[in-house]
């Protein structure tokens, strides 16, 4: 190793951080999934609008695992490919419902500002 190893600039995690964590937890509510499937599910469920960058997805999964919201285990897929499956923990379920409630409040609050004529009806 003759060169100092590269120090990449911060990757784009901040952009969607809280939201991405919530989306991942929501995706796992339907059962354990591996990283690739989580990305595909978010993409499909959002009608291809949201594309999760792998550079954000895998750090997010590490973060969720570290916080104890998901647990991981290696298993075989149906196509006989070894993959790391993530599963919601009880703590993660609690966190998801908390985040869902907050998300609802936020959408409603932003809606009242953007469309005041629709509010109070």
């Amino acid at each position: 190793m003759a060169h100092p190893s590269p120090r990449p600039a911060e990757t784009r995690i901040d952009l969607l951080q809280g939201t991405l964590d919530m989306l991942i937890l929501r995706t796992l509510q339907w059962g354990a999934q591996h990283g690739y499937a989580i990305g595909q599910t978010i993409r499909a469920q959002s009608s291809e609008v949201l594309r999760v960058e792998t550079g954000s997805l895998y750090p997010a999964l590490q973060r969720l695992e570290k916080r104890g919201w998901v647990s991981a285990e290696w298993r075989q897929t149906e196509a006989n490919q070894r993959a790391k499956y993530y599963r919601l923990t009880p703590k993660g379920k609690k966190q998801l419902s908390h985040q869902q409630a907050r998300w609802g409040e936020m959408v409603a609050a932003i809606g009242r500002i953007m469309n005041p004529e629709l509010a109070d009806k």
Binding site: P4, S5, P6, R7, P8, E10, T11, I13, H34, G35, Y36, A37, E53, T54, G55, S56, Y58, P59, A60, L61, Q62, R63, K66, T77, A79, Q81, R82, A83, K84
Partner: protein
């Protein structure tokens, strides 16, 4: 936790993530083959879609280790880099070490003299009664 255990665990976590990314790429390529791509095209397309593998690994590692450990490991990296550079330029290293050594040595010598003469009480009975005598016009 002992240091070597920590190092082993760290290495295992790195390998785990690398295998996870390999498995991601394999599944993505398989999906493309199922859609009619040939194997090599599928493999390249999966890699391209994944983006920068090293950057992803780095970002994930940073999350896993936390800020403090990441900082410690970058300090270690700098130290290793410094040592390598010193080993590569023995002439520069010699001059630097000698000038540091003579600087520190000279300072120590001057300070020990000043310490013995000026800072510590004189080694005589009742040092407070010692007077300075001087001849000359005032």
């Amino acid at each position: 936790m002992a240091l070597w255990q920590w190092l082993v665990r760290r290495r295992q976590a790195d390998q785990d993530l690398q295998e996870e990314i390999r498995s991601h790429l394999a599944m993505a390529a398989r999906d493309r083959v199922a859609d009619g791509d040939d194997r090599e095209t599928a493999r390249l397309a999966a890699l391209k879609e994944f983006g920068n593998v090293m950057l992803t690994e780095e970002a994930a590692r940073r999350v896993r280790r936390g800020r403090l450990l990441e900082y410690a490991s970058s300090v270690l990296q700098d130290l290793r880099y410094g040592c390598r550079m010193l080993a590569r330029n023995p002439g520069f290293t010699l001059v630097a070490v000698l000038s540091l050594a003579s600087g520190i040595g000279a300072n120590t010598a001057v300070f020990s003299v000043a310490d013995a003469l000026l800072l510590r009480p004189l080694t005589v009975p009742r040092p407070a009664e010692v007077l300075t005598a001087r001849a000359g016009r005032s």
